[in-house]
């Protein structure tokens, strides 16, 4: 019998706050940076209470200057600190794109390991919360295509905490995407204290035999609902939460696809160039002959994420996922 683990009931954003507090306590070199993360506790309250607990030097309100503070964080990371920078919304990471692309992700390689950038960039992402434009982007693929940075995207509170701790302890830069639609949408039991979840490992949320549904982040609830719905039609769906988008969990993907032979990928990013196509590539490379049908991708469209009056049309829905499952089944 396993020893009982003490837990707390937390939302995803509370779990993130918990992870940040634990790491600030544990490692004096961890330092949070970003816009409005101090007194205000972040626009989503992810850093609530941390500045008053750890002081202004460890929880630093920066100027409104993403290239500036990400660039500064790189200099700090090289010089002994572990900056955890918050980008207020993923859509506001673009001004810092050059710093991430040409420095954060390359410095280890440029100097053959002499200088390294152990930093985390946290960013809420995704549509569905009626936010203004650019607040809704889901552009993880821009970063999975960027060598030298890992991309993590949890969908549940417990995963969020364990993965964020792992990201902070990772010796390399990690982009940590937080599905803002899941920030407060549900709670679960989250272990107290420090624990980490290995980056690069997905998780089988539902065991199934007929169809594999692969998804991550804010699309997980949609995938789960579709799987639930298919149960009524006696279709057994396996649901996989990738959790890390670079590097993908090749073993988990191929093992499942080889079992079911039918795959539906669900993501809210644009179809062309989406991470779904990397999953497709893994299937092509590892499981070609196991495929009983072409893989279906249910994704955001090749359109900018629209203004929120239109966002429900853009976002993948349970209905679209169900249709795709039916399609791979009837092939």
């Amino acid at each position: 019998m396993r020893a009982a683990i003490k837990t707390q009931t937390l939302t995803l954003v509370q779990a993130i706050n918990d992870a940040l507090r634990i790491m600030l306590q544990e490692n004096q070199n961890v330092i949070l940076m970003g816009e409005d993360i101090g007194k205000n506790g972040g626009v989503f309250r992810a850093t609530e209470g941390l500045q008053s607990e750890f002081g202004e030097d460890r929880v630093l309100d920066t100027p409104l200057s993403e290239a500036g503070f990400i660039g500064a964080a790189i200099g700090m990371a090289v010089n002994g600190f572990i900056p955890v920078a918050e980008i207020q919304f993923l859509g506001f990471i673009y001004p810092a794109f050059e710093q991430i692309m040409t420095h954060a992700s390359r410095l280890r390689m440029r100097t053959m390991g002499h200088y390294t950038v152990p930093m985390v960039i946290r960013a809420p992402y995704g549509a569905g919360v009626r936010a203004p434009e650019i607040h809704c982007d889901s552009t993880e693929a821009l970063f999975t295509h960027m060598p030298g940075i890992k991309v993590v995207c949890p969908s549940s509170p417990a995963d969020a905490k364990g993965l964020l701790i792992a990201a902070i302890e990772d010796p390399d830069p990690v982009l940590f995407l937080e599905p803002m639609r899941c920030y407060r949408s549900s709670r679960e039991e989250v272990p107290e204290g420090k624990y980490s979840i290995e980056i690069g490992k997905g998780k089988k949320l539902v065991e199934g035999t007929d169809v594999t549904i692969i998804s991550w982040g804010a699309m997980i609830p949609v995938a789960l609902k579709a799987a639930e719905e298919m149960k009524i039609q006696e279709v057994s769906c396996e649901v996989i939460d990738l959790r890390t988008l670079y590097p993908l969990d090749q073993d988990l993907i191929s093992e499942s696809v080889q079992k079911t032979g039918r795959t539906v990928i669900v993501h809210e990013a644009h179809s062309t160039g989406g991470v779904g196509n990397d999953v497709l590539a893994i299937i092509n490379d590892t499981s070609f002959l196991y495929q009983k049908a072409p893989t279906e991708r249910v994704t955001g469209f090749d359109t900018p994420v629209p203004y929120f009056g239109f966002e429900d049309y853009y976002l993948p829905t349970e209905k679209r996922v169900v249709k795709a499952i039916e399609k791979v089944l009837s092939f």
Partner: protein, 356 residues
């Protein structure tokens, strides 16, 4: 630097003219125009906040307190000029001629709200901070190349000055002598971040020195000071003298947006106490009283007209046709490309056509 860039005022908080140079320029027409625009803006703003509370529009960015800065600057424009507002400058946009219905549609998540009235050059509100600044420089440069006397105005906040785009936009404009006015509303907060954590300088106006362009600091709650300084900057721009930077020192009484809770980072009671001294509408009323322009009947009428106009706009917004799913596909490119065409067809088929 505060000495080099004093806060220019034409009327003081008590409503007295303190810069006599402008005594003759302050006509009744001007006063009434300013007053009615500012009241219209405030009625709109409060109404919008309450619409948001009722769930009838989305997150909204109020500008109460910044009416003089926005009215004074926008009313200085010529009809053919270009305006590049942020999410907080719908006051300026409405003063320049944007339709209230459109502004409400924008805040209700509808792209239709970004379309300005025919002939009006108003950009959609800039959401990614400071990005509109180079656009304003470019549009102004285009006017220069065309040989017109049109100018453009870019609005942005104190926080925006920290972004690279602020610097690049001002530098570009200064080099090509683009006819553009960079109009800063220094409301002293970028969400929760106060001015002194945003920058080490005591003024924003002094940043003009980096580009050798004129910079001026005005009392942003003095509509006359804002108006005449903007006019001057626009005039210089039209005359080929290039860009200028105006810092309008002001304050927002409310929250950053309806999603923000300002009591987390500042004392809202104190913020409201400032009204006594700084409220731009109260100040203008004092002036009107001091100089005999105060007319309660007229004021009531202005209030009522504003309220009616806004109610009408709300009605129009709420009766506006539902968002058409097909629209998200049709405006990405001039002509549908096949991936989008295919996505559109599949989607419309699934939902049974474009009628939601």
């Amino acid at each position: 630097m505060e000495k080099q860039f004093p806060i220019l005022q034409i009327i003081d908080p008590n409503g007295n003219i303190i810069d006599e140079n402008y005594e003759n320029e302050i006509t009744e027409h001007l006063i009434k125009t300013f007053y009615s625009h500012m009241v219209r803006m405030r009625v709109f703003d409060r109404k919008a906040v309450s619409l948001q509370r009722q769930g009838r529009i989305g997150t909204y960015a109020p500008f109460e307190g910044q009416e003089a800065a926005q009215a004074g600057s926008a009313l200085a424009l010529n009809p053919d000029d270009w305006m590049f507002p942020t999410y907080r400058d719908h006051g300026a946009a409405m003063a320049f001629g944007h339709s209230l219905k459109s502004i409400l549609l924008f805040w209700n998540g509808r792209n239709e709200g970004c379309i300005p009235p025919k002939g009006k050059n108003i950009f959609p509100p800039g959401i990614p901070i400071a990005t509109q600044i180079p656009h304003a420089a470019g549009a102004a440069f285009a006017e220069k190349l065309k040989g017109t006397r049109n100018a453009s105005i870019a609005y942005f906040g104190d926080g925006a000055t920290s972004e690279g785009d602020f610097h690049e936009g001002l530098n570009f404009a200064s080099v090509v002598k683009a006819p553009v006015v960079f109009f800063n509303e220094n409301n002293q907060y970028a969400i929760s971040v106060p001015f002194h954590k945003q920058m080490n300088s005591k003024t924003i106006a002094q940043k003009s020195l980096a580009y050798d362009i004129p910079g001026v600091r005005v009392d942003g709650n003095d509509v006359f000071a804002v108006y005449f300084q903007t006019m001057k900057a626009l005039e210089a721009a039209r005359n080929g003298e290039g860009p200028s930077l105006i810092e309008a020192v002001t304050w927002r009484y409310g929250a950053h947006t309806t999603a923000d809770d300002p009591s987390k980072y500042r004392d809202q009671a104190k913020s409201h106490q400032r009204r006594e001294i700084t409220d731009p509408i109260i100040r203008l009323e004092r002036f009107m009283k001091n100089y005999g322009f105060f007319d309660q009947v007229w004021i009531d009428m202005v209030q009522k007209e504003a309220a009616d106009e806004i109610d009408q706009a709300i009605k129009e917004m709420e009766q506006f046709p539902a968002a058409k799913p097909g629209d998200i596909f049709d405006f990405v490119f001039a002509k549908l490309v096949w991936p989008i065409k295919q996505q559109k067809e599949e989607y419309l088929e699934m939902i049974g056509g474009d009628k939601k």
